[in-house]
Point group: C2
Chain length 187, copies 2
DNA sequence: GTCTATACGGCGATAGAC
DNA sequence: GTCTATCGCCGTATAGAC
Protein backbone atom coordinates (compact mmCIF):
# COMPACT_ATOMS: atom_id res chain seq x y z
CA UNK A 1 0.00 0.00 0.00
CA UNK A 2 1.30 3.46 -0.90
CA UNK A 3 2.29 5.86 1.85
CA UNK A 4 -0.52 8.24 0.92
CA UNK A 5 -3.07 5.45 1.31
CA UNK A 6 -1.59 4.35 4.62
CA UNK A 7 -1.96 7.90 5.89
CA UNK A 8 -5.55 8.04 4.70
CA UNK A 9 -6.42 4.74 6.36
CA UNK A 10 -4.88 5.66 9.71
CA UNK A 11 -6.42 9.14 9.61
CA UNK A 12 -9.90 7.78 8.97
CA UNK A 13 -9.53 5.50 11.96
CA UNK A 14 -8.28 8.22 14.29
CA UNK A 15 -10.70 10.91 13.13
CA UNK A 16 -13.56 8.45 13.56
CA UNK A 17 -12.51 7.47 17.07
CA UNK A 18 -11.17 10.73 18.48
CA UNK A 19 -12.74 13.44 16.37
CA UNK A 20 -11.10 16.16 14.29
CA UNK A 21 -9.74 18.33 17.11
CA UNK A 22 -8.88 15.24 19.14
CA UNK A 23 -6.57 13.89 16.44
CA UNK A 24 -3.18 15.52 15.90
CA UNK A 25 -0.83 15.26 12.95
CA UNK A 26 1.85 13.95 15.31
CA UNK A 27 -0.47 11.17 16.46
CA UNK A 28 -1.23 10.03 12.91
CA UNK A 29 2.38 10.08 11.76
CA UNK A 30 3.87 8.40 14.82
CA UNK A 31 1.39 5.50 14.63
CA UNK A 32 2.67 4.92 11.09
CA UNK A 33 6.32 5.14 12.15
CA UNK A 34 6.83 8.52 10.49
CA UNK A 35 7.24 12.03 11.76
CA UNK A 36 4.86 14.89 11.20
CA UNK A 37 6.46 16.59 8.17
CA UNK A 38 6.13 13.36 6.16
CA UNK A 39 2.38 13.90 6.07
CA UNK A 40 2.83 17.39 4.68
CA UNK A 41 4.61 15.85 1.66
CA UNK A 42 1.25 14.29 0.75
CA UNK A 43 -1.34 16.73 2.05
CA UNK A 44 -1.21 20.52 2.15
CA UNK A 45 -2.65 20.81 5.66
CA UNK A 46 -4.89 19.12 8.20
CA UNK A 47 -8.11 20.28 6.55
CA UNK A 48 -6.98 18.92 3.18
CA UNK A 49 -6.14 15.57 4.77
CA UNK A 50 -9.54 15.49 6.39
CA UNK A 51 -11.32 16.27 3.15
CA UNK A 52 -9.41 13.49 1.38
CA UNK A 53 -10.66 11.11 4.08
CA UNK A 54 -14.17 12.40 3.50
CA UNK A 55 -13.94 11.72 -0.24
CA UNK A 56 -12.60 8.21 0.34
CA UNK A 57 -15.37 7.38 2.78
CA UNK A 58 -18.08 8.82 0.55
CA UNK A 59 -16.95 6.77 -2.43
CA UNK A 60 -16.73 3.57 -0.36
CA UNK A 61 -20.21 4.12 1.03
CA UNK A 62 -21.72 4.48 -2.44
CA UNK A 63 -19.90 1.40 -3.73
CA UNK A 64 -20.93 -0.63 -0.71
CA UNK A 65 -24.65 0.23 -0.90
CA UNK A 66 -24.68 -0.46 -4.63
CA UNK A 67 -23.03 -3.87 -4.28
CA UNK A 68 -25.35 -4.89 -1.43
CA UNK A 69 -28.49 -3.93 -3.31
CA UNK A 70 -27.24 -5.87 -6.35
CA UNK A 71 -26.05 -8.90 -4.36
CA UNK A 72 -28.00 -11.83 -5.87
CA UNK A 73 -27.90 -13.89 -2.67
CA UNK A 74 -29.98 -11.23 -0.90
CA UNK A 75 -33.35 -11.87 -2.48
CA UNK A 76 -35.94 -9.83 -0.54
CA UNK A 77 -35.97 -6.14 0.30
CA UNK A 78 -36.01 -7.10 3.96
CA UNK A 79 -32.75 -9.03 3.72
CA UNK A 80 -31.11 -6.27 1.68
CA UNK A 81 -32.07 -3.46 4.08
CA UNK A 82 -31.31 -5.54 7.14
CA UNK A 83 -27.95 -6.62 5.73
CA UNK A 84 -26.86 -3.00 5.26
CA UNK A 85 -27.59 -1.98 8.84
CA UNK A 86 -26.15 -5.20 10.17
CA UNK A 87 -22.87 -4.72 8.30
CA UNK A 88 -22.62 -1.09 9.38
CA UNK A 89 -22.76 -1.87 13.08
CA UNK A 90 -21.10 -5.27 13.15
CA UNK A 91 -18.02 -5.04 10.98
CA UNK A 92 -15.26 -4.76 13.53
CA UNK A 93 -12.95 -2.28 11.86
CA UNK A 94 -15.82 -0.29 10.41
CA UNK A 95 -14.33 3.09 11.08
CA UNK A 96 -15.83 4.16 7.77
CA UNK A 97 -19.37 4.05 9.09
CA UNK A 98 -18.45 5.70 12.37
CA UNK A 99 -16.60 8.42 10.46
CA UNK A 100 -19.58 8.99 8.21
CA UNK A 101 -22.02 9.29 11.08
CA UNK A 102 -19.79 11.29 13.36
CA UNK A 103 -19.04 14.06 10.91
CA UNK A 104 -22.42 14.09 9.29
CA UNK A 105 -24.03 14.74 12.65
CA UNK A 106 -21.35 16.67 14.51
CA UNK A 107 -18.88 18.35 12.17
CA UNK A 108 -16.13 20.61 13.51
CA UNK A 109 -17.46 24.18 13.22
CA UNK A 110 -14.63 25.42 11.02
CA UNK A 111 -15.29 22.78 8.34
CA UNK A 112 -19.05 22.58 8.71
CA UNK A 113 -19.95 23.94 5.28
CA UNK A 114 -17.49 21.88 3.24
CA UNK A 115 -18.44 18.70 5.09
CA UNK A 116 -22.15 19.29 4.68
CA UNK A 117 -21.72 19.96 0.97
CA UNK A 118 -19.68 16.82 0.29
CA UNK A 119 -21.76 14.52 2.47
CA UNK A 120 -25.06 15.82 1.14
CA UNK A 121 -23.86 15.08 -2.37
CA UNK A 122 -22.81 11.51 -1.65
CA UNK A 123 -25.73 10.77 0.65
CA UNK A 124 -28.02 11.85 -2.17
CA UNK A 125 -26.44 9.21 -4.40
CA UNK A 126 -26.71 6.17 -2.14
CA UNK A 127 -30.04 7.16 -0.60
CA UNK A 128 -31.57 7.46 -4.06
CA UNK A 129 -30.47 3.88 -4.74
CA UNK A 130 -32.22 2.84 -1.55
CA UNK A 131 -35.24 4.89 -2.55
CA UNK A 132 -35.47 3.00 -5.86
CA UNK A 133 -35.23 -0.37 -4.12
CA UNK A 134 -37.93 0.66 -1.66
CA UNK A 135 -40.12 1.94 -4.47
CA UNK A 136 -39.88 -1.41 -6.24
CA UNK A 137 -40.76 -3.23 -3.04
CA UNK A 138 -43.88 -1.12 -2.58
CA UNK A 139 -44.95 -1.78 -6.17
CA UNK A 140 -44.28 -5.51 -5.84
CA UNK A 141 -46.22 -5.66 -2.58
CA UNK A 142 -43.36 -6.59 -0.24
CA UNK A 143 -43.88 -3.29 1.56
CA UNK A 144 -47.36 -2.01 2.42
CA UNK A 145 -48.87 -0.06 -0.46
CA UNK A 146 -50.40 2.56 1.84
CA UNK A 147 -46.91 3.88 2.70
CA UNK A 148 -44.86 6.23 0.53
CA UNK A 149 -41.25 5.52 -0.41
CA UNK A 150 -40.23 8.77 1.33
CA UNK A 151 -41.80 7.69 4.60
CA UNK A 152 -40.05 4.34 4.50
CA UNK A 153 -36.68 5.77 3.48
CA UNK A 154 -36.55 8.50 6.09
CA UNK A 155 -37.56 6.05 8.81
CA UNK A 156 -34.87 3.67 7.65
CA UNK A 157 -32.25 6.42 7.66
CA UNK A 158 -33.29 7.39 11.18
CA UNK A 159 -32.70 3.86 12.38
CA UNK A 160 -29.38 3.71 10.56
CA UNK A 161 -28.33 6.80 12.51
CA UNK A 162 -29.78 5.72 15.82
CA UNK A 163 -28.45 2.21 15.90
CA UNK A 164 -25.08 3.09 14.44
CA UNK A 165 -23.40 3.91 17.68
CA UNK A 166 -23.89 0.73 19.60
CA UNK A 167 -21.01 -0.83 17.72
CA UNK A 168 -20.95 -4.57 18.10
CA UNK A 169 -24.33 -4.77 19.77
CA UNK A 170 -26.51 -6.96 17.63
CA UNK A 171 -28.93 -7.11 20.52
CA UNK A 172 -30.73 -3.83 20.02
CA UNK A 173 -30.77 -4.14 16.26
CA UNK A 174 -32.88 -7.27 16.57
CA UNK A 175 -35.48 -5.32 18.54
CA UNK A 176 -35.68 -2.23 16.38
CA UNK A 177 -35.64 -4.28 13.21
CA UNK A 178 -38.55 -6.44 14.34
CA UNK A 179 -40.66 -3.39 15.06
CA UNK A 180 -39.58 -1.48 11.96
CA UNK A 181 -40.47 -4.42 9.76
CA UNK A 182 -43.87 -4.87 11.47
CA UNK A 183 -44.39 -1.20 10.68
CA UNK A 184 -43.73 -1.41 6.96
CA UNK A 185 -44.50 -4.94 5.80
CA UNK A 186 -47.60 -5.67 3.77
CA UNK A 187 -50.39 -7.21 5.82
CA UNK B 1 -28.88 34.12 38.20
CA UNK B 2 -25.63 33.41 40.05
CA UNK B 3 -22.33 33.62 38.20
CA UNK B 4 -21.74 29.93 38.62
CA UNK B 5 -25.07 29.12 36.99
CA UNK B 6 -24.41 31.55 34.15
CA UNK B 7 -21.13 29.80 33.46
CA UNK B 8 -22.84 26.42 33.51
CA UNK B 9 -25.55 27.55 31.12
CA UNK B 10 -23.15 29.07 28.62
CA UNK B 11 -20.81 26.09 28.84
CA UNK B 12 -23.59 23.62 28.13
CA UNK B 13 -24.52 25.59 25.04
CA UNK B 14 -20.96 25.81 23.73
CA UNK B 15 -19.98 22.23 24.55
CA UNK B 16 -23.15 21.02 22.83
CA UNK B 17 -22.52 23.07 19.69
CA UNK B 18 -18.76 22.92 19.37
CA UNK B 19 -17.70 19.88 21.34
CA UNK B 20 -15.30 19.60 24.26
CA UNK B 21 -12.02 20.27 22.44
CA UNK B 22 -13.72 22.87 20.25
CA UNK B 23 -14.76 24.98 23.24
CA UNK B 24 -12.12 27.01 25.08
CA UNK B 25 -12.26 28.61 28.51
CA UNK B 26 -11.58 32.00 26.89
CA UNK B 27 -14.59 31.53 24.61
CA UNK B 28 -16.92 30.76 27.50
CA UNK B 29 -15.74 33.60 29.70
CA UNK B 30 -15.66 36.27 27.01
CA UNK B 31 -19.23 35.48 25.91
CA UNK B 32 -20.24 36.19 29.51
CA UNK B 33 -18.24 39.42 29.71
CA UNK B 34 -15.60 37.93 32.00
CA UNK B 35 -12.04 36.88 31.56
CA UNK B 36 -10.73 33.35 31.83
CA UNK B 37 -9.50 33.29 35.44
CA UNK B 38 -13.01 34.16 36.65
CA UNK B 39 -14.13 30.68 35.68
CA UNK B 40 -11.35 29.13 37.73
CA UNK B 41 -12.81 30.81 40.82
CA UNK B 42 -15.83 28.51 40.38
CA UNK B 43 -14.42 25.36 38.79
CA UNK B 44 -11.08 23.68 39.42
CA UNK B 45 -10.39 22.98 35.74
CA UNK B 46 -12.01 22.35 32.40
CA UNK B 47 -12.83 18.72 33.16
CA UNK B 48 -14.54 19.71 36.42
CA UNK B 49 -16.59 22.34 34.60
CA UNK B 50 -17.60 19.75 32.03
CA UNK B 51 -18.61 17.24 34.66
CA UNK B 52 -20.74 19.86 36.39
CA UNK B 53 -22.50 20.46 33.06
CA UNK B 54 -23.02 16.72 32.76
CA UNK B 55 -24.63 16.54 36.21
CA UNK B 56 -26.92 19.47 35.45
CA UNK B 57 -28.05 17.94 32.16
CA UNK B 58 -28.58 14.52 33.68
CA UNK B 59 -30.77 15.91 36.44
CA UNK B 60 -32.82 18.00 34.00
CA UNK B 61 -33.37 15.02 31.73
CA UNK B 62 -34.72 12.90 34.57
CA UNK B 63 -37.00 15.69 35.78
CA UNK B 64 -38.27 16.34 32.28
CA UNK B 65 -39.12 12.71 31.48
CA UNK B 66 -40.86 12.32 34.84
CA UNK B 67 -42.99 15.43 34.38
CA UNK B 68 -43.97 14.47 30.84
CA UNK B 69 -45.02 10.96 31.81
CA UNK B 70 -47.08 12.39 34.68
CA UNK B 71 -48.58 15.24 32.64
CA UNK B 72 -52.37 14.68 32.92
CA UNK B 73 -53.13 16.34 29.57
CA UNK B 74 -51.18 13.62 27.79
CA UNK B 75 -53.58 10.73 28.11
CA UNK B 76 -52.33 7.88 25.90
CA UNK B 77 -48.92 6.25 25.78
CA UNK B 78 -48.64 7.35 22.16
CA UNK B 79 -49.03 11.04 23.03
CA UNK B 80 -46.59 10.73 25.92
CA UNK B 81 -43.85 9.01 23.90
CA UNK B 82 -44.40 11.23 20.89
CA UNK B 83 -44.36 14.36 23.02
CA UNK B 84 -40.96 13.50 24.47
CA UNK B 85 -39.30 13.03 21.09
CA UNK B 86 -41.06 16.07 19.70
CA UNK B 87 -39.85 18.30 22.50
CA UNK B 88 -36.31 16.98 22.24
CA UNK B 89 -35.90 17.90 18.61
CA UNK B 90 -38.13 20.96 18.39
CA UNK B 91 -37.32 23.09 21.39
CA UNK B 92 -35.20 25.83 19.89
CA UNK B 93 -32.63 26.31 22.62
CA UNK B 94 -32.53 22.66 23.48
CA UNK B 95 -28.81 22.45 23.97
CA UNK B 96 -29.52 20.02 26.76
CA UNK B 97 -30.66 17.26 24.45
CA UNK B 98 -27.86 17.91 21.97
CA UNK B 99 -25.35 17.84 24.82
CA UNK B 100 -26.76 14.58 26.11
CA UNK B 101 -26.65 12.88 22.75
CA UNK B 102 -23.33 14.28 21.63
CA UNK B 103 -21.38 13.14 24.65
CA UNK B 104 -23.24 9.92 25.14
CA UNK B 105 -22.35 8.86 21.64
CA UNK B 106 -19.02 10.56 21.06
CA UNK B 107 -17.26 11.46 24.29
CA UNK B 108 -13.76 12.99 24.27
CA UNK B 109 -11.33 10.09 24.81
CA UNK B 110 -9.75 11.52 27.94
CA UNK B 111 -13.10 11.70 29.77
CA UNK B 112 -14.70 8.64 28.24
CA UNK B 113 -14.93 6.57 31.42
CA UNK B 114 -16.30 9.28 33.70
CA UNK B 115 -18.88 10.33 31.11
CA UNK B 116 -20.03 6.78 30.48
CA UNK B 117 -20.38 6.14 34.20
CA UNK B 118 -22.44 9.27 34.88
CA UNK B 119 -24.63 8.98 31.80
CA UNK B 120 -25.28 5.29 32.27
CA UNK B 121 -26.47 6.01 35.79
CA UNK B 122 -28.88 8.76 34.79
CA UNK B 123 -30.03 7.03 31.62
CA UNK B 124 -30.90 4.04 33.74
CA UNK B 125 -33.20 6.23 35.84
CA UNK B 126 -35.23 7.87 33.11
CA UNK B 127 -35.30 4.83 30.84
CA UNK B 128 -36.72 2.74 33.64
CA UNK B 129 -39.54 5.27 33.98
CA UNK B 130 -40.20 4.85 30.27
CA UNK B 131 -39.99 1.09 30.69
CA UNK B 132 -42.71 1.18 33.36
CA UNK B 133 -44.97 3.32 31.19
CA UNK B 134 -44.48 0.96 28.26
CA UNK B 135 -45.13 -2.05 30.47
CA UNK B 136 -48.44 -0.56 31.59
CA UNK B 137 -49.40 0.14 28.00
CA UNK B 138 -48.74 -3.46 27.02
CA UNK B 139 -50.84 -4.72 29.92
CA UNK B 140 -53.66 -2.30 29.12
CA UNK B 141 -53.60 -3.30 25.47
CA UNK B 142 -52.52 0.02 23.97
CA UNK B 143 -49.35 -1.67 22.74
CA UNK B 144 -49.43 -5.11 21.13
CA UNK B 145 -49.25 -7.86 23.71
CA UNK B 146 -46.95 -10.01 21.59
CA UNK B 147 -44.12 -7.51 22.07
CA UNK B 148 -41.90 -7.25 25.14
CA UNK B 149 -41.29 -4.00 26.97
CA UNK B 150 -37.56 -4.34 26.26
CA UNK B 151 -38.16 -4.58 22.52
CA UNK B 152 -40.34 -1.48 22.53
CA UNK B 153 -38.03 0.54 24.76
CA UNK B 154 -34.84 -0.18 22.86
CA UNK B 155 -36.54 0.63 19.57
CA UNK B 156 -37.82 3.88 21.02
CA UNK B 157 -34.36 4.80 22.30
CA UNK B 158 -32.90 4.08 18.88
CA UNK B 159 -35.34 6.50 17.29
CA UNK B 160 -34.63 9.09 19.96
CA UNK B 161 -30.96 8.89 19.01
CA UNK B 162 -31.48 8.74 15.28
CA UNK B 163 -33.93 11.58 14.95
CA UNK B 164 -32.24 13.80 17.49
CA UNK B 165 -29.86 15.51 15.17
CA UNK B 166 -32.20 16.94 12.61
CA UNK B 167 -32.93 19.82 14.95
CA UNK B 168 -36.02 21.72 13.93
CA UNK B 169 -37.06 19.21 11.31
CA UNK B 170 -40.47 17.95 12.25
CA UNK B 171 -40.72 16.47 8.78
CA UNK B 172 -38.82 13.24 9.33
CA UNK B 173 -40.23 12.68 12.78
CA UNK B 174 -43.71 12.43 11.27
CA UNK B 175 -42.50 9.63 9.01
CA UNK B 176 -40.60 7.59 11.52
CA UNK B 177 -43.29 8.02 14.12
CA UNK B 178 -46.01 6.77 11.80
CA UNK B 179 -44.05 3.61 11.05
CA UNK B 180 -42.90 3.06 14.62
CA UNK B 181 -46.46 3.30 15.88
CA UNK B 182 -47.74 0.92 13.17
CA UNK B 183 -45.03 -1.43 14.42
CA UNK B 184 -46.06 -1.44 18.07
CA UNK B 185 -49.77 -0.63 18.28
CA UNK B 186 -52.28 -3.30 19.11
CA UNK B 187 -54.12 -4.60 16.04
C1' DG C 1 -14.38 37.36 42.48
C1' DT C 2 -12.35 39.46 38.89
C1' DC C 3 -8.52 41.51 36.83
C1' DT C 4 -3.52 41.69 34.27
C1' DA C 5 0.35 39.15 33.38
C1' DT C 6 2.62 35.09 32.63
C1' DA C 7 4.29 30.06 32.60
C1' DC C 8 4.27 26.04 30.04
C1' DG C 9 2.95 22.73 26.70
C1' DG C 10 1.08 21.05 22.41
C1' DC C 11 -0.73 22.31 18.19
C1' DG C 12 -0.29 23.17 12.90
C1' DA C 13 2.97 24.34 9.78
C1' DT C 14 7.66 25.31 7.60
C1' DA C 15 12.92 25.53 6.61
C1' DG C 16 16.63 23.23 5.21
C1' DA C 17 19.81 19.08 5.38
C1' DC C 18 20.07 14.44 3.49
C1' DG D 1 10.20 11.86 1.03
C1' DT D 2 11.70 11.88 5.42
C1' DC D 3 14.33 13.77 8.93
C1' DT D 4 15.69 17.47 12.92
C1' DA D 5 14.89 21.85 14.46
C1' DT D 6 12.17 25.64 14.96
C1' DC D 7 8.43 29.21 14.51
C1' DG D 8 4.15 31.37 16.06
C1' DC D 9 -0.07 30.63 18.07
C1' DC D 10 -3.40 29.31 21.34
C1' DG D 11 -4.71 26.10 24.81
C1' DT D 12 -5.07 25.24 30.13
C1' DA D 13 -3.82 26.85 34.27
C1' DT D 14 -1.74 29.92 37.97
C1' DA D 15 0.29 34.14 40.64
C1' DG D 16 -0.56 38.15 42.68
C1' DA D 17 -2.80 42.93 42.73
C1' DC D 18 -7.31 45.06 43.67
Amino acid sequence: MKTRDKILKESIKLFAEQGFEGTSMTMISSLLGFTKPAIYAHFANKAALFEACLDTISQEQITYIKSTLENPSLKTIETKLHSIINDCILIQDNHAFLFYNRFYLLPPVELKEQIKYKLDQSTEKWSSMLMDAIHNAIVSGEIDKSLTKTEVLSSYMCILNGVGYEIGSKHNLDHIWKIFWRGIKAN
